[in-house]
Amino acid sequence: MNYNWNWMVFWDPSPDGTGTYLYTLIRGVYWTLGASAAAWIIALAFGVVVGVLRTSGIGWLQRVCAGYVELFRNVPLLVQIFLWYFVMPEVVPESLGNAIKSADPTWSTFWTAVIALGLFTSARIAEQIRAGIESLPRGQGMAATALGLTRPQAYRYVLLPITARIIMPPLASEALNLIKNSSVAFTIGLLELTGAARAMQEFTFQIFESFAAATVLYLIINILVVAGMRYIERRLQVPGYLGAAR
């Protein structure tokens, strides 16, 4: 088979004139990590609120939050991104829509991706928070109430700190999912890692070198995130609880 391998292609200058192809890929890593980090903050904030409210015992609130989760879980992420990117600017008031459309395209795609990824992930985190809280013995909440804590205090000081430790492993894999999912943002033009590799492949025709480089970079990111989450998990462990004594 005559495929011309050329591993030196990474040192060739890229057509946008900013540096080498390697630099294009590294910048892709920055966009991937930046979008994932920003989306992670949104996902955690919304996920915790929705997850807590689903255990609040207030009927209508629980139903609204269940609807929120179902909405974001049952529509493919790609479709959600398109909704935020193509549809949202058309249905908001015209002045806001025009402001979005005339914004710097790089940043508007970035923030669109962040919002879409953040809300998509928040529904999944909400489910984990809810499952985590429901897995606690009922006595925990009752003991907190018996000590005179209000309900918000019971969540803040008793239920959530334990839940956070229980759901660390699934939360870690959700963080990895988020990083992988951020590749979908390439469809609206964000040059994150997959997009950068795709662009490099289209310019250089060095298909396998480009994708191999992206693969290696994704694996490195994965390993670092797993190590980071393990470190946080260890630091948060309460001695004598949840298999901490290791």
Partner: protein, 229 residues
């Protein structure tokens, strides 16, 4: 924006459903079936006592699970013609159709996820059952085929079906290959008629209805099976 144009949807619905949705559903079913078969084999490899087999399967599964599906789609889109060319001794890359390429990609990718489900399923069967099978003189394939796997499939049915819904949603990513799946068909119309709002909202609603209904049905199946035990 001047009003939501339902007419576009009504006019293009036959195309969207007959071409787009049929493509999506065909890809979903075939990939799921293929991925369950391959995933079960991978799970058996991962659980085998051979270091080599479990190492190969483990590496494959972890690699697939560490990478974004879009990247895998690109990999196989370009790699499959070379592999086919190599297998058929043609000496040059052989072009394969978009559907075939997507199907191969999804089978290979989703097999990693189905492997993890089937691994849990096989491990959920007490090892004494396999031991009893061997004591009766059955060989490995008989023990697996007649004792362990039927029960593992039964225990894992809800998870397998849930993963199938994930596959259904994942197939929308063939958009990056410009294939005419449900989203791709809607996108074609949206670009041609300049009706992006209508098309993408409609696509979202249809995906929602199908996924939501399917996940409710999975819950029903789960409850039925729980009672039967």
């Amino acid at each position: 924006m001047n009003g939501f144009d339902f007419d576009t949807i009504v006019r293009t619905a036959p195309y969207l459903f007959k071409v787009g949705l049929v493509f999506t559903l065909k890809l979903t079913f075939l990939s799921t079936v293929g991925a369950i078969v391959l995933g079960t084999l991978l799970a058996m490899m991962r659980l085998s006592s051979s270091r080599l087999l479990s190492g190969v399967a483990g590496t494959y599964v972890n690699l697939m699970r560490a990478l974004p599906l879009i990247l895998i789609i690109f990999w196989f889109y370009f790699l499959v013609p070379y592999i086919v060319g190599w297998v058929t001794q043609a000496g040059r890359p052989i072009a394969v159709g978009g559907f075939t390429s997507a199907l191969i990609t999804f089978v290979l990718f989703e097999a990693a996820y189905f492997c993890e489900i089937m691994r849990a399923g096989i491990q959920s069967i007490p090892s004494g059952q396999a031991g009893a099978g061997y004591a009766l003189g059955l060989n490995y394939w008989q023990v697996m085929g007649k004792i362990v796997l039927p029960q593992a499939f039964r225990n894992m049915t809800p998870l397998l079906l849930t993963q199938m819904i994930v596959v259904f949603q994942d197939t929308s990513l063939v958009y990056v290959l410009s294939l005419t799946d449900f989203l791709g068909a809607a996108n074609n119309v949206a670009q041609r008629d300049g009706r992006l709002v209508e098309m993408f909202v409609f696509v979202a609603v249809v995906y929602f209805i199908i996924s939501y209904t399917a996940s409710r049905l999975v819950k029903v199946v789960e409850q039925r099976m729980a009672i039967a035990r």
